[in-house]
Subunit: 461 residues, 2 copies
């Protein structure tokens, strides 16, 4: 249990915490635009100063791009766990600026009709607000108790919104320093405004580009049509064969290593009241697709998929050209779960295509990345301590959720540093990250700080 | 039989005929480029002057675009047939000019290593050379015999290479004047350098654009993949279902009205020594596609087809984006033969697609033209007279061929004027029409003139 005086101090200091967040938000640290390079450096320096002020051993470490902020607190002693907290201090560009109701780097608190308050600024939710929930929790604990209950290293990069080119080299160059007991990654959302969430599953991804070639040139369909191989036809047949009538992927071995979720997690999901019809209806879909015997939530969190993300071949401009194209191409991705092996999936797909080529057709493949699914074991101590801490703060069980997308840094931590991640964040789906009028709920900020204090205490136990 | 003196005169006058053709070729009548509008008018006027000189009642008739040249010879008398000869006096642009070995509007005769000669210039084969074979035949007949054996109207347009916008209005406005016994259309090729050909079948065409829509916006495949309908998958399934494993088109009713060719024509085709493997091998194809029980020649001349000419959906740029697209689109064309009905084929396709839509998918269609197949009856007197005349000149039977593509003017003559076309031309497949260094064989020009003299005589009998 967390010292009530720490929580009281967090409550009392909220105005000051907000002032500090505002100061951070005023720095336009847009990493992708070279014009804002000085602002990125300023944001890194600001963070170093804040963390040093709390008592961290903090520095901004140079990279080929924007600096990495690394800050250590090791005074909890060698018998205590050591966690790595990850966040980023850079932000997205602000275009289209005309859609912002107020300037993106002039943060404000906007009171809503329902009485709630939100912090509006670029970076408020992604990721400065989330980052500062952790920093302010550390500040309050140090101020009230003289220290942190566990050892903490904070890693904050300045290139998350521009592809993180320096991240992997930095992790590799500093693997010993950064390979800790567990990572805390805050770039995620709550289930809803009142229900915290821990993301424990991220689907992996295999990307493949497949090109079918027929003739060595585009042909006139009048002259050759009916006799010459049409690579679009071949591609359509291959892609149509990827799923059976029940929506299952037909690649041999595709479901090897795909687990069923434990009953306890299934019960947690059922309790969330997720409305699959509404989820799909919001984007104009009147019916679900995919595996007929799975719920929408299962499909997007815990089931593997095969999706064609792009296809082109022949004439695609206005009007009509009766061409028989020489090539047709598709970009196909597989979302992976559990222990599915990206290399095996890729090989199975390539064999599947190759076996279906008619005589006269050729195929080439181009890989576009492959990463396994990531999951924190459901019986992981860190997960269960985190769940307990969040339930204490929010008064209801945390949702243990999956995510259909990938968070690259979590994969790097696993692959390069051998470290699992506990993904806890307080964003909401309507925070408009990457869009005009980005916001972060005041409750997310305030109770997020309190949550981290509880989680740090829980991890010490 | 044609008067030997006419043929001798054609031989003797060949240098003069060539000079006239060169004068015509020097006029850069590029119809699609407004800068060459005066040149198009000059070409029309040149042609009027030549035809008037022979004795035709010739004039250049204004249109919204370039003028139509119309020339009548009706002195054969009302008991003789009256044919419409069609050709065009405009030419293609010359880009890329750097690939021309000599300037495109400075015609020359190039002697080849095998001793043959060719006329090199833009328009030499398409269509001024072909047009002048007919004009020079008329000139020689009039000079030697005092007249033509049948009545002849020559129609020469100046917009064939720029979409013929004025053709249909002109035909409709002058239908009575131009609806004659049969049309002679010279915009076609010989079978090979030594074998003349009459084209009697042109496949029709139905073009359809089909768009499948799922969600009302592009979706992130991480967030929605597996649960949201992917319109590329739906489209691939539909297109893959258009053909069965034997290569036949599966649309209900598709083969209604598709005739088998007569035994005599099948024998003519078999005698041509056509090498389907070589035909496909020349464009890099090691095996034929399409109906398994048909020869390549049947497939491209006398069998109907369904071909996807273009497909696009989702992300098609460089790299990879894990998008689930809102839409996927294909351009599909059907080549028609015999009595296949374009409207019924279009309706059958639309029903086929609609019946295969899963719940949540929508479809829209956009038509891109529809025209029935055209054929000259195999027992047509004009066809058999033409065959006999060509055999006399070339010393071997004329190939009676089909063409996979369409020649719009032939359709207009049939649809608007109720007139069949006898398609006889002396081009060769390697004439490089529309390309740099376009050429026309001297034998095509010389024996083409002689052929027309024989055909005109034959049609009089």
């Amino acid at each position: 249990m967390t010292d009530i005086r720490v929580l009281d101090r967090i409550d009392a200091d909220l105005p000051a915490s907000l002032e500090r967040l505002f100061a951070f938000l005023r720095i336009p640290s847009i990493s992708t635009d070279p014009a804002y390079k000085p602002a990125c450096a300023e944001a890194a320096d600001w963070l170093v100063k804040e963390l040093s002020g709390i008592g961290f051993d903090a520095s901004a470490r140079p990279t080929e791009g924007h600096p990495m902020v690394v800050a250590h607190w090791t005074k909890a002693g060698p018998d205590k766990p050591h966690v790595l907290f990850y966040a980023h201090y850079d932000v997205q560009p602000v275009d289209p600026i005309s859609l912002w109701e107020t300037p993106p780097f002039e943060p404000r608190v906007a009171r809503q009709p329902d009485g709630s308050e939100r912090i509006v600024a670029r970076g408020s939710a992604d990721d400065k607000g989330q980052l500062m929930t952790f920093v302010e929790a550390c500040r309050a604990m140090v101020a009230e108790t003289g220290g942190l209950p566990i050892n903490v290293t904070i890693l904050s990069e300045g290139e998350e919104e521009s592809g993180s080119p320096s991240l992997v080299p930095f992790l590799l160059a500093n693997a010993k320093e950064l390979s800790l007991d567990v990572a805390l990654v805050c770039d995620t959302n709550m289930w809803d405004r009142d229900t915290p969430a821990i993301t424990t599953m991220l689907r992996g991804l295999v990307g493949e580009e497949v090109t079918i070639t027929g003739a060595n040139q585009d042909l006139h369909s009048g002259m050759f049509g009916g006799a010459a191989l049409n690579p679009i036809h071949v591609l359509a047949r291959v892609l149509a064969g990827l799923h059976d009538d029940s929506g299952r992927v037909t690649l041999p071995g595709f479901y090897d290593g795909v687990p069923e979720i434990p009953a306890e997690i299934a019960a947690n999901w059922a309790s969330l009241g997720f409305d699959g019809d509404a989820f799909l209806g919001a984007v104009g879909l009147s019916a679900p697709a995919g595996e007929v015997d799975r719920t929408v939530l299962e499909k997007i969190w815990s089931r593997p998929t095969a999706e064609v993300n792009g296809i082109d071949g022949g004439y695609t401009g206005d009007g009509f050209k009766t061409v028989l194209p020489a090539k047709a191409r598709a970009k196909v991705s597989f979302r992976l779960v559990g222990d599915q092996d990206p290399d095996k999936i890729r090989a199975s797909f390539r064999q599947f295509v190759t076996e279906r080529l008619p005589k006269g057709a050729a195929v080439s493949f181009h890989p576009h990345g492959g990463s396994p699914a990531l999951r924190l074991a459901f019986d992981s101590p860190a997960l269960n301590k985190g769940r307990a801490a969040l339930e204490e703060e929010w008064g209801r069980p945390a949702a243990v959720v999956g995510s259909g997308g990938s968070i690259p840094v979590v994969g790097h931590f696993k692959t390069l540093l051998g470290m699992d991640s506990l993904m806890v964040g307080f964003g909401l789906a309507d925070d408009r990250i990457h869009s005009p009028n980005e916001k972060y709920e005041m409750t997310s900020f305030h109770k997020g700080i309190r949550s981290w204090a509880r989680v740090l205490d829980a991890l010490a136990g």
